[in-house]
């Protein structure tokens, strides 16, 4: 990373400034197990060079949701990369890729709670690495879509079979994607936002 605590903080490049009319921001989270392509997806759709924010967690800060609370008292630093898309003069969308290690997900309650929704990335070579985070989203009532990353050597399952294995309700979209391609990642985000819109229409989101 090219930032540090010196008094010459670089700050955003001129072309990365948001207009003064920017009134509010929303966020979408991109989740999934270790190495499924979260950082790649954030980077492929972001209009700014992806940035990293971090949080230092100590035992005291972990009490909110402690079912994975580690017994050790050591501070843990969690880094999370994110990108940004300008939606309009008033509205900005941020995309956050959450850390791969399962035990860190609970640290980001705040992130999940405010998010419009989530993209769950799956790697069919290791599907189950994304199962825990799916359960966590369900527990919190965060709507999500499932994007199956098309790694070349990964097994291809029929979507119906995957849907059944994932125990998805019939309304939840599942689609293939290549997280390295902007158009493909954008289509995943569009699928999520259309899904949220449909939930809104049916009154499932209030």
């Amino acid at each position: 990373m090219d930032y540090n605590g010196s008094d010459t903080v670089p700050g955003p490049r001129a072309e990365d400034h948001l207009p003064h009319t920017a009134q509010a921001a929303a966020k979408i989270v991109i989740v999934g197990g270790f190495g499924v392509g979260k950082t790649t997806m954030v980077g492929s759709v972001s209009e700014i060079k992806p940035l990293t924010t971090e949080e230092t967690m100590t035992q005291a800060g972990i009490g909110v949701d402690d079912d994975f609370g580690s017994p050790s008292k050591t501070a843990t630093t969690v880094a999370m990369d994110f990108g940004r898309i300008r939606i309009s003069d008033e509205l900005v969308l941020y995309l956050f890729g959450t850390p791969g290690q399962e035990r860190f997900w609970f640290l980001w309650n705040r992130l999940f709670e405010g998010a419009l929704g989530a993209v769950v990335l799956l790697d069919t070579r290791r599907i189950e690495v994304s199962y825990d985070v799916m359960g966590r989203l369900e527990e919190r009532g965060v709507p999500f879509v499932v994007a199956v990353n098309t790694f070349p050597d990964a097994p291809r399952y029929p979507m119906a079979e995957l849907r059944q294995a994932l125990d998805l309700t019939p309304d939840i979209p599942i689609l293939e994607c290549d997280a390295r391609r902007r158009a493909s990642s954008r289509d995943v985000l569009l699928t999520l936002v259309r899904f949220l819109h449909a939930l809104h229409l049916t009154g499932a989101l209030t």
């Binding site: 008094d7 207009p19 966590r136």
Partner: protein, 141 residues
């Protein structure tokens, strides 16, 4: 050769994590094309005071030039926030953890040096036009 059957998952019921209470007015009366009210919501601190709740995507805007008394961090924030910038971006550019930045910003909000533009959260969607705006924005990418 057929691939093995994918491992079976069990859907989890929604539990203790009920959606947070709406942080925006319940009737987010969107005027015209979805005008978003500027607001700063607060929660009661454990010690009784009110404290701004800063989200990773709360937008921060400077409302003053750095006063002579400002610390280097405050000066850096005020310089970067001449145009709106999220707390997450401030954290990234300052190289400071999110929690440290929220403490810094809470002081600056109290001193009237910066303003905060609250994020849109899922439960506070003013109306469908917001999601429609996001769809259109993504389609242009």
């Amino acid at each position: 050769m057929n691939p093995p059957v994918p491992p079976q998952r069990r859907r989890r019921p929604a539990t203790r994590h009920q959606p947070p209470s709406p942080l925006a007015p319940a009737q987010g009366e969107a005027e015209g094309d979805g005008k978003i009210p500027e607001r700063l919501y607060v929660v009661a601190d454990s010690d009784g005071g009110d404290r701004a709740v800063l989200d990773l995507v709360t937008l921060i805007v400077a409302c003053a030039e750095p006063p002579p008394s400002s610390t280097p961090e405050q000066t850096a924030v005020l310089r970067m926030c001449r145009s709106p910038l999220s707390v997450a971006e401030l954290s990234a550019y300052l190289g400071l953890p999110f929690g440290v930045v929220t403490v810094l910003l809470t002081d600056m909000l109290a001193a009237g040096l910066v303003q905060a533009r609250a994020p849109i959260v899922r439960q506070a969607l003013p109306d469908r036009s917001l999601l429609e705006a996001v769809m259109h924005g993504l389609q242009r990418l």
